[in-house]
Structures are given as structure tokens and as C-alpha cells.
């Protein structure tokens, strides 16, 4: 992973998952979790307040600064992700030779991990409820 820590914010060709052809956008995304093997999970960062059914964390201003983001309010979406094999979809920042904007503080990354685990556990519980007795 070229030494990038969990919480690194990189420029990434993110696909929202709507199935539309124009679904791709180069945007800052946080690498929060490295999966098994070369798999990496990317979570999108957005200036827009997420829809009602999305789970997201507002990124505090100090965390935005540490991550190299602008000062406007931004959210890290918990309930959507792209999983790719590193470094697929990672692109250099325009005019630079690195994709790295900065790194989110570890305390914020911990909060994100808890929120993500909660989303996953909720899904697993719902799946269990649907199993036949």
C-alpha cells in the first residue's frame, strides 16, 4: 500500500453505484480499511449533506485540515464504498505527482470504524431475521 496509513485521503475515481454511465467522479476518498490481500475499501467524501437513508459523519474542521481538504463542511459517507485492488482507481492530484491529500486523525478514524461496524452489524442482524426458523 506504499506506506499509506488507514485514514489516508487520496484522489480516487469513485463510482457511486447507481449504474448510470456518468456515475464516476474523481473525488477525495478516504482509505479507511485495508482488506484481506490487496483489497482496499474507499469511502467517499462529499460537500453535500447525504440523503436521509445514508449514514455519514461530518468531518470536523481540524480533521479536514489534517486531511488536506478545504474548509467547507464535508461528510465522510459510511454506508457506501468502493472495494478495489490497490491501486486501481487512485489518481494523482492535478499538477502533483501524488494522490495523497493528507490523513484523517486517528481518533476520527476510530469513530468512523465504529460507525461502519454498526452499519455492517445492522445488516447482518437484518439478514439473520430473514432466515427461516
Amino acid at each position: 500500500m506504499d506506506g499509506l496509513p488507514d485514514g489516508a485521503v487520496v484522489r480516487f475515481e469513485y463510482e457511486w453505484g447507481s449504474g448510470n454511465e456518468d456515475d464516476y467522479k474523481l473525488r477525495p476518498c478516504a482509505i479507511i480499511i485495508r482488506g484481506n490481500g490487496p483489497s482496499v475499501f474507499f469511502f467517499p467524501i462529499s460537500h453535500s449533506l447525504p440523503d436521509g437513508d445514508e449514514v455519514a459523519l461530518e468531518i470536523p474542521i481540524d480533521a479536514r485540515a489534517a486531511a488536506g481538504l478545504d474548509a467547507f463542511p464535508q461528510w465522510l459517507i459510511v454506508s457506501r464504498c468502493n472495494r478495489v485492488e490497490w491501486p486501481g482507481g487512485v489518481r494523482n492530484i492535478q499538477g502533483k505527482t501524488t494522490p495523497l491529500y493528507g490523513t484523517l486523525p486517528t481518533d476520527f478514524v476510530d469513530v468512523f470504524r465504529s460507525a461502519l461496524a454498526a452499519v455492517v452489524k445492522q445488516k447482518l442482524l437484518r439478514s439473520k431475521d430473514r432466515l427461516p426458523p
Partner: protein
């Protein structure tokens, strides 16, 4: 796969573009000093390639093995 030099690609890019967007057409490789450096493919083929190798969507729709991995992510320390 058809291969052209970078000089030829610069001269005939319009024709190469039309060639690669034809359904079922092969990509075109562009060489520089005989070394393959660039592949020209259609936008749609590029999207297919990217989509084939990634998951994109809601976390809740991830395959079970990913959900199992992520369900314990809060117990793993983010600190190096």
C-alpha cells in the same frame, strides 16, 4: 491487438478514435521507440474493465465475506 507508433497515432488519431469506438473493435496499442506505452480503448470498454474489478455501492450490499471482515473493524486499532 493493432499497434501503432506514437508518431502515427498523432497523425491519425481521428481514425484510431473511430476504430476503437466501433462495437467489438480491438484496442489499439501505441508504442514509443517500439515499447508499448498506451492502449486506446473506448470509454464504454474502459468502464466495463473498471466495473469488472470492483465493488461499488452500499456497504450493506457487500458480499458476506466482506461484511464478516468489516463487522469487527471497530475492534482493530487504526493506529500504526
Amino acid at each position: 491487438m493493432r499497434s501503432v507508433s506514437s508518431a502515427e497515432a498523432a497523425r491519425t488519431f481521428g481514425a484510431i478514435r473511430e476504430e476503437v469506438v466501433t462495437p467489438g473493435a480491438e484496442p489499439v496499442t501505441v508504442t514509443h521507440y517500439n515499447i508499448p506505452q498506451v492502449v486506446v480503448i473506448s470509454f464504454l470498454e474502459y468502464r466495463d474493465l473498471v466495473r469488472r474489478s470492483r465493488f461499488a455501492g452500499k456497504v450493506a450490499d457487500l458480499p458476506e465475506e466482506d461484511l464478516a471482515f468489516l463487522s469487527t473493524i471497530d475492534r482493530r486499532n487504526a493506529r500504526p
